[in-house]
């Protein structure tokens, strides 16, 4: 009966300032969302551990009580393998016998939390506190998750993304996003400029795609998820038309981009510009963007500040409009202007063609070519079903969807 009695203890972890601490939502493994107390890198994690003996008068014998602070990466497909990148221990009590409830204080001073909490399709990065009451047979364990956000400075260099893409003699567009790095509450402002339109476009949207690469080497798992679909154009434009983009990121559940976290996983974000024609063919072009978390700033109290902000961005997006559409098109046709993109860019711009089902990655056949920058594309066959091109584009297709 000892065993039964010995189980009768309750462990409770109370973090300092828990009531006033900000919380953040994090998805659990089973898909539910939970609000967790929020910490930042270098912040002290302190609090109290309460151990309650359930029935007064009973005794709880233990081999010692400790609390750990753990930062850990779980790869779902590799259950047995947990990668702890942070692990700190504080001893709370030496072996002894508890006869009544006790309270231990603990403190992990300025603890390093190098990565952001993350919960994805195949991988999870979590921080938690674990109290262990060591016993002879089975330990009493209590875990408390916390959420960690990593803050980044506004990048010094944040150039816009600007590119000319198209399909030879069919569709030439130039798109532009005002930055390449956005913070999570940022606004993506941009525009699409149509240089040549010979297909009947039905609508155009911008998607935010998260691509998660978990594991490494040949066993690595790649997972793409479309987080946002934002229609930016309805109907068929004509040559010379310029379509504005303004996408508020705060409406979506995003995380900062993560590169090679502890050599275990990466999370990348892409803006996918998709044009759908009247025959449901989809033409798209993905561009990676970097997302980062900016320290929360107090909003200016002026009511219209966000409008100003939005419009400011909007104006930025209009700067290219001074050019006459016709001249642009003529330049385009004459091929007289040098490519706007660098060679690497041009290579990257070899656009993905493909017919895709709707949101759920039901990738169908992908007969459509999106050529690279029009300036390099002449070498590519223009025919829609050219097999060579399919090959070139096939991998993109799989990756994306």
């Amino acid at each position: 009966f000892f065993g039964l009695v010995s189980q009768g203890a309750e462990i409770d972890i109370v973090l300092d300032g828990q009531e006033s601490r900000k919380t953040a939502e994090l998805k659990l493994e089973d898909g539910r969302k939970e609000r967790l107390p929020l910490y930042y890198d270098g912040e002290t994690v302190s609090g109290k551990v309460n151990i309650l003996v359930k029935k007064s008068g009973t005794k709880l014998e233990h081999q010692g009580i400790k609390i750990e602070f753990v930062g850990q990466i779980d790869l779902y497909f590799d259950r047995g393998n947990r990668h702890e990148f942070v692990s700190m221990v504080r001893e709370l009590a030496r072996p002894g016998i508890l006869t009544q409830g006790v309270c231990y204080g603990f403190e992990f001073v300025n603890v390093e939390k190098p990565y952001e909490s993350y919960s994805g399709a195949n991988v999870r990065l979590r921080y938690y506190l674990r109290v262990t009451v060591v016993k002879r047979l089975s330990d009493l364990v209590k875990e408390q998750d916390i959420c960690v956000h990593t803050l980044a400075q506004y990048p010094d260099l944040n150039s816009s993304i600007k590119m000319e893409v198209g399909i030879e003699d069919c569709l030439h567009i130039e798109f532009e996003y005002n930055k390449s790095k956005y913070h999570l509450k940022d606004v993506i402002v941009g525009k699409i400029f149509f240089l040549l339109v010979r297909i009947k476009i039905r609508h155009m949207e911008v998607q935010i795609i998260r691509r998660e690469l978990a594991g490494s080497g040949p066993a690595a798992l790649n997972e793409s998820e479309t987080l946002a679909k934002f229609e930016i154009m309805d109907g068929a434009p004509v040559r010379g038309e310029s379509i504005p983009i303004r996408l508020f990121l705060s409406g979506y559940d995003l995380t900062p981009s993560m590169r090679d976290v502890n050599k275990k996983f990466s999370v990348k974000y892409y803006l996918n510009l998709v044009l759908v024609d009247e025959e449901e063919r989809r033409y798209f072009k993905q561009q990676e963007i970097t997302l980062f978390r900016r320290a929360e700033k107090r909003r200016r109290p002026i009511a219209n500040s966000y409008i100003e902000q939005a419009i400011f961005h909007h104006r930025t997006a209009q700067f290219g409009q001074q050019q006459q559409p016709t001249t642009r098109a003529q330049q385009q046709q004459s091929q007289a202007t040098p490519p706007l993109t660098t060679p690497e860019d041009a290579a990257a711009a070899a656009i993905s063609p493909g017919r895709h089902g709707d949101a759920n990655n039901s990738a169908a056949d992908s007969p459509e070519l999106e050529s690279g920058s029009t300036h390099v594309s002449p070498a590519l066959p223009a025919a829609r079903s050219a097999p060579g091109i399919k090959d070139v584009l096939g991998e993109d297709d799989d990756d994306n969807y």
């Binding site: 934002f230 109907g235 004509v238 508020f248 705060s250 009511a303 219209n304 419009i311 909007h314």
Partner: protein
């Protein structure tokens, strides 16, 4: 607003489909609207926005025809007003919802997003004007995202409708932050050009075989585009200067560049209609320049005509200052029209003429005293038609109608045919018309003269006038003959005017005759206007001479109507001061009447002779000599015999008989000069007359009538017998014998 009736061009099943689709959409809208309002009542704004977004989602459809889409749009925008009012109320109570402008932009679909954005943006503007300028600019820019013509047009219409009363309307200096009128102009102009592009693009969608239907649909939507211009015209701060330097150039640039005939036609017309006349005057050159650059398919003439008419009306309107003298309005238009004609080799003649008609209207309306302008227009028209190789203008053709309109304009506006006569190019143009139209115009002119009592005071003018309306004066075929007649008629005053004309008259149909009768009566009435006035009686005679000479060329069917007035008119002139010429006048009358008689119009001639006699009778006694001179034996004799001759040509035998019998009196009671006022009592002639009458009576078929005629004859005989009883026995006996013989017959 535009679809008052269901359009008929849709076939049955299509209409049914449309109704079904529309009903489905409407019921979704009603449901969502209901839920939205319920959420608003409970102050659940976010839920309300969600329902609003669902409701607006119905506008994403591609299945509805413009008409059905319009119905859907109307219902939805009506419901959106609830949301707007709620937000306004909340905002004014100080409960401003944070970030609402951003929040509505999270909507994934662009159509609901933009409708919501507009609604919220306008609420912001209404509550505080601080960022009005920026919001307006933002809204109109963001609408670029909708490139589908129908949906885009309605979205932008919603934008225009919502911002109706919030556009800044003040000059720059006053309000720096909340925007000025130039921001409003930019806003509306951008919206206008985008809408116009969408509207034009509509034409190029779908199958070519549905072109007509699409064009019809586009017409139904044109008001959406025009509303932009209306909005501009409602901005008070747009003065002439701003209109000329900013507004108009932008509108024209858009219109010219779109190259779409329907759009150009409508927008140009719209410009004319919505902006004030003063503005048009100030920008005439620009506007006309743009007209010359329009698509050849655009009926430019309608635009110009519309503009000209407006300016003409403006110039003549009460209280207006008229056209400023520094604007050579007429020169502008005439140059421009010349340019258009030059640039458009395929311009139809009727368009050419109607353009010129408008120009004429302008010249007449604005420059009433500038006959040369009108003449110039007519000249241009004439040469224009020459260039187009128009030789024959068919009746009932459009060209004929237009030309008629053109020709009637100066008549109406001047109300003075004499001015018309001074125009060198009026007549040639008139003569181009086909006969019936020509006649109608001529008759119109004459009628106008009659209505205005336009006197024609000189023989040259009479000549010109009659030349102008020569289609009424003579048959076109008889031109040559008429010319010949002219020549002979001018030789001598007493020349026989009937010479060349008697053969000109052919029998026409009854309708023709009626028309003819009408025309010629008109002409006849106009003769009374050939008057020099009381001070220039000397010339009056010359005038009438001319008139007769020309009218006489008209042939028998005409002179019947036209010459009598000449006669009457000339007799009215028999004035005291003029006795020396009285003889001449009567001779003139006589020869005229003789001419008539020769044209187989004995009845008329007879009446005129009798009337002439009456006139002579009325002339005061001291003129008796003159009178006698007039009807001297040599004149009197033929007069009498002519009368008999005429009498015997009456149509019906009984009439002939009675008339001839009556003529017997001529030979009895006439008082030739040689008898010094005594009655001539020429028994022999009297007897002849009566005998002839008897003969005529005997040919009468109706026995009763015949008996009556004989009875009357007996009466005549008895009268003459009694009259002659006291004079000479022998002749009296002869008479008695005759009486008996007649009685025997009876």
């Amino acid at each position: 607003l535009f679809w008052q009736t269901r359009s008929q061009d849709m076939s049955g099943p299509v209409t049914e489909d449309q109704e079904k689709l529309l009903d489905e959409a409407l019921s979704v809208v009603k449901l969502q609207a209901f839920q939205m309002k319920r959420c608003l009542d409970k102050a659940k704004l976010m839920d309300a926005l969600k329902h609003a977004s669902n409701m607006l989602g119905e506008l994403r459809t591609s299945l509805l025809s413009p008409k059905s889409y319009y119905e859907l749009y109307m219902l939805i925008t009506d419901e959106m007003r609830h949301l707007e009012l709620y937000l306004l109320d909340e905002f004014q109570k100080g409960r401003r919802v944070q970030d609402l402008y951003e929040l509505v932009q999270y909507a994934g679909n662009i159509i609901p997003r933009l409708y919501l954005l507009i609604t919220v943006g306008v609420v912001y503007i209404k509550c505080s004007e601080i960022s009005r300028k920026d919001i307006l600019k933002d809204l109109v820019e963001m609408c670029r995202g909708v490139q589908h013509p129908l949906r885009g047009l309605f979205l932008r219409n919603y934008l225009l409708q919502c911002t109706k009363n919030v556009l800044p309307d003040c000059v720059e200096e006053e309000q720096e932050d909340s925007g000025s009128v130039s921001d409003s102009i930019d806003f509306v102009l951008l919206n206008f050009s985008e809408m116009n592009k969408l509207w034009v693009r509509m034409q190029h969608q779908g199958h070519t075989r549905e072109r007509d239907r699409r064009e019809q649909e586009r017409r139904e939507l044109k008001l959406l585009v025009g509303t932009n211009l209306v909005r501009l015209s409602q901005l008070d701060t747009i003065d002439v200067q701003r209109y000329r330097s900013v507004v108009l150039p932008a509108v024209l640039e858009q219109v010219v560049n779109c190259r779409d005939a329907l759009s150009q036609d409508y927008v140009m017309e719209c410009i004319i209609q919505v902006f004030p006349d003063e503005y048009h005057l100030a920008t005439l050159q620009d506007f006309l320049q743009a007209c010359a650059e329009l698509n050849p398919a655009v009926p430019v003439k309608n635009i110009l005509i519309s503009l000209i008419n407006r300016l003409s009306a403006f110039a003549t309107r009460d209280g207006s200052n008229g056209i400023p003298s520094d604007i050579p309005l007429f020169d502008f238009f005439s140059e421009q029209i010349a340019k258009i004609i030059e640039n458009k080799p395929d311009l139809s003649p009727e368009d050419l003429v109607s353009l010129q008609a408008a120009l004429t209207g302008l010249a007449l309306g604005v420059y009433k005293d500038r006959e040369d302008y009108v003449d110039k227009v007519l000249e241009t028209t004439n040469s224009g038609l020459d260039k187009l190789g128009v030789e024959h203008i068919n009746d009932h053709s459009n060209l004929s109608r237009e030309l008629m309109k053109l020709l009637k304009l100066p008549i109406d506006l001047w109300n003075d045919a004499l001015v018309l006569l001074r125009l060198r190019h009026y007549s040639p143009l008139l003569q181009r018309l086909d006969s019936p139209t020509k006649k109608s115009v001529s008759a119109y002119l004459l009628q106008n003269m009659l209505n205005n009592g336009t006197l024609v005071p000189s023989s040259e003018q009479v000549e010109q006038l009659l030349d102008l309306v020569r289609c009424l004066v003579a048959d076109p075929g008889a031109d040559a003959a008429a010319a010949a007649a002219d020549a002979t008629a001018t030789n001598s005053l007493g020349g026989d005017p009937g010479d060349g004309s008697a053969n000109g008259a052919g029998p026409g149909s009854e309708a023709d005759n009626e028309d003819l009768a009408e025309e010629q009566s008109l002409l006849g009435r106009v003769v009374h206007l050939f008057s020099t006035g009381p001070d220039l009686l000397d010339e009056q005679f010359g005038v009438l001479k001319t008139a007769r000479r020309i009218l006489a060329t008209g042939g028998g069917r005409r002179v019947k109507y036209t010459l009598p007035p000449v006669v009457f008119h000339s007799r009215q002139d028999s004035d005291d001061k003029w006795r020396k010429k009285c003889r001449k006048i009567f001779e003139f009358c006589h020869s005229t009447v003789c001419g008539l008689a020769k044209c187989e119009l004995p009845n008329l001639a007879l009446r005129l002779f009798v009337d002439g006699a009456l006139v002579v009778d009325k002339i005061p006694f001291d003129q008796h000599d003159t009178r006698m001179t007039c009807f001297a034996a040599e004149n009197h004799e033929p007069l009498r015999s002519q009368t008999v001759h005429a009498a015997s040509k009456l149509l019906r035998k009984p009439d002939q008989s009675r008339a001839v019998a009556a003529c017997a009196h001529l030979f009895w009671s006439g008082r030739p000069r040689e008898l010094q006022g005594a009655e001539m009592r020429d028994l022999k002639k009297v007897g002849e007359c009566l005998k002839r009458a008897g003969r005529l009576a005997s040919q009468c078929m109706d026995a009763g009538l015949q008996a009556q005629l004989y009875t009357e004859l007996v009466n005549y005989y008895l009268y003459f017998v009694l009259q002659s009883a006291g004079q000479s026995g022998s002749s009296g006996a002869a008479c008695v014998r005759s009486v008996w013989s007649v009685s025997g017959v009876v």
